[in-house]
Symmetry: C2
Subunit: 428 residues, 2 copies
């Protein structure tokens, strides 16, 4: 499946993939260590650090959930100061619903990181992901921070991408090189999946770096544009977690010329950033907990973009539609049903529904497309669903997954298991 | 678990349960036959008829889904005429997304029923439930209508309650007798379950009859009041199906005196109707597809009722919360997370969460209630979750279920299976 950026703007360069993830761009280093937050016995990687060795412009987008993790509150405050230099991230504990102690712990994480890398405390952003409602195991975390700082290196992205995983089955990393004038710049990032059916329902973290030279305002505009068309397409209806965070750091260390506002290069930067974010977002959906399918839900010709979005999101989060995708069932009745309750303006007799380009429903009625062909279209690992409302000209795309039996089993006893594990270790 | 009516109004009489369902009240008859709509081979009951032998006031509440089944459109039109006498209902085919032919078919069902029971076509309401997007098998349905009319009798409720079942595992019937002056009246009904996790996501049908004597206006008010506090509590956020319908017929044939507006008796009628609807609504949730638990989600002390409702519905339809209920996991972090994205106004540090009366989260933080006790509370077949926002004085209750692995398996291939079955029978 090609990205929407390449579809919408066919004249853009094809972005050249390069290795390196969050350390692909010049002047960034990363590392990870295991300090026993996930599990005191096996010391899996659970603490990551990303630093810029040069001054940065940094933009972040945080969760809209009213219940915000302590680290989100602290990072939002620190971001008001210019020149962020470091991001410290732990997995295994979300530091959410942890009260004043949680704030103290997040600040201490920033302080220890600042001391270890040699910057001010407010130049450090803090992220956490894991279980909600338990205090941070600071006694295990504290010694980890100097250790991870000592391990920083220019090829540290892979370790960092593994350290931020929770229920992810694989690390997620994307990096590209973009020609610019006589030189080029790089954009690269890592992400951890929400791991959910609706990826928005658990923590989504992504850290992106670039050595492109551009102003803070231009970076801000590009980040808003790209997040709206990527991570927000897998974040249905504001159902964000307590910890969701996307951070983009730019340090201008590339050999490319400065990107001037309104130039062709500024446009290219925006699309290149979208490319990186969209690929990361798709990796998150595809690696959702026990997911077997990646489903693109496209609504076209709605009256307004808001209508198109409502219809697409209703289908993308319908349990019944997700069950159908899982079962290779071209059940367009469930799709039209979800569109019907979505709130989008529609005329039933105008609705067409396609699976993988094959028309299953025309004007609200069943077509004669053979069921075997429709089944084949929904049997693919990548399924595309197109709903044409034939009412206006607004479009919207959402990315979702199927719902598998194993998902339920996997999600049935997280809290109890964590509490019991903690008690076995004599901590509760 | 007692009903909210008895909790809210402890001075009301305890309603006396009586047998009879939709034919418990005087002057109503019912019947059912199998005419091969569900399956041409085994002739399971799939066509039901309920009639009043006397003039009625009739009120109905139909789906708010913009995609409405043909039978819903025809019934809404017929309801504009006074004195409904009959409800004809088939299961196995929803007659939804069937275009002009669907309307013709629904009208023919009304016409044949009117001929068979001796009334005008517009005195007949038509309901259908089953798969979406396939034409009604009228050749099998037509001979069924005179047959079901010929079978009408005063103890026909049980057959009718079975005939309207689709994925329900058991028929649902509630009937009570209510003292009124020197006499009494009865209210009774049958229902079919949505069979879904969110019961609103597939068809919910309920037919209720009463021989109480009251005006059409009073009936209308009572129906609105009771539906809002019962069936709408299991119908989250307008996610209604294409076919949802609740119909209440009253024929005034009881030996009780007329119920005067604003009287104590009028109040009692309203609560009695709510009792019947709420018991039917609870039976629907408890018999949801592969459901193992009935969960009451109660939000209290919200700023407004709308806020309380948002918070309760967000928890009730959260996949992660439902998985936790299934796994006997007192995961209050997932509950506060859902409340956080619900849109309800809140202050995290004021939120308390209880399972079965035991406090799991106090002021947004974990409590010291032993995990074993919390686990025991969520291990019950009936689980109660209470979220106290401690912010205002508005309350709301929603009823939901857990999410089981078997649900997904069960819902994975409905459409394909139906199409293949149809083709095997030489019909497609």
């Amino acid at each position: 499946m090609s990205t929407s950026s390449s579809k919408v703007k066919p004249l853009l360069p094809v972005f050249q993939s390069v290795p390196g993830g969050v350390t692909a761009a010049r002047g960034f280093r990363a590392a990870a260590v295991g300090c026993g937050i996930k599990n005191p016995e096996n010391k899996r990687l659970d603490l990551a650090l990303v630093v810029s060795d040069f001054p940065t412009h940094t933009e972040a987008v945080f969760t809209t959930n009213q219940v915000k993790a302590a680290c989100v509150r602290v990072s939002a405050q620190h971001l008001r100061e210019p020149d962020t230099r470091a991001i410290i991230v732990n997995s295994g504990n979300a530091n959410a619903c942890t009260g004043p102690r949680g704030i103290t712990d997040a600040k201490e994480m920033a302080k220890l990181t600042a001391e270890a890398v040699g910057c001010r405390m407010r130049q450090v952003l803090v992220c956490s992901t894991g279980i909600i409602g338990m205090p941070m195991p600071m006694e295990r975390l504290r010694p980890g921070i100097p250790a991870v700082a000592a391990a920083l290196h220019a090829e540290g992205s892979d370790d960092a991408s593994r350290a931020i995983m929770t229920s992810d089955t694989r690390p997620k990393s994307v990096s590209i090189e973009v020609p610019c004038g006589d030189g080029s710049y790089r954009i690269g990032g890592i992400a951890k999946g929400a791991g959910m059916i609706c990826p928005n329902m658990a923590t989504m973290l992504s850290f992106i770096t670039t050595d492109a030279k551009l102003s803070r305002d231009d970076l801000k505009r590009a980040v808003r544009y790209a997040v709206d068309k990527s991570f927000n397409r897998i974040t249905v209806d504001g159902d964000t977690s307590t910890n969701d965070t996307v951070i983009v750091m730019s340090n201008g260390q590339a050999d490319a010329a400065s990107i001037r506002r309104g130039s062709e290069d500024a446009h290219t930067f925006r699309e290149a950033l979208l490319h990186v974010m969209l690929e990361l977002a798709k990796l998150i959906v595809a690696d959702g907990e026990r997911v077997t399918k990646f489903v693109e839900v496209r609504v076209r010709n709605a009256r307004t973009v808001a209508d198109a979005r409502r219809a697409a999101e209703a289908v993308a989060k319908s349990l019944l539609c997700k069950c159908s995708f899982h079962g290779n069932d071209p059940n367009w009745g469930r799709i039209i049903h979800a569109v019907g309750y979505s709130g989008a303006r529609l005329r039933e007799e105008l609705i067409d529904i396609y699976f993988g380009g094959l028309i299953a429903c025309k004007g609200g009625l069943s077509t004669t497309t053979p069921i075997q062909e429709l089944e084949k279209a929904v049997s693919e690992r990548n399924v595309s669903v197109l709903i044409d409302l034939n009412l206006g000209s607004a479009n919207y795309i959402v990315y979702t997954s199927d719902l598998s039996e194993e998902y339920v089993d996997f999600n049935a006893s997280e809290y109890s298991a964590a509490v019991h594990a903690k008690r076995q270790r004599g901590l509760a």
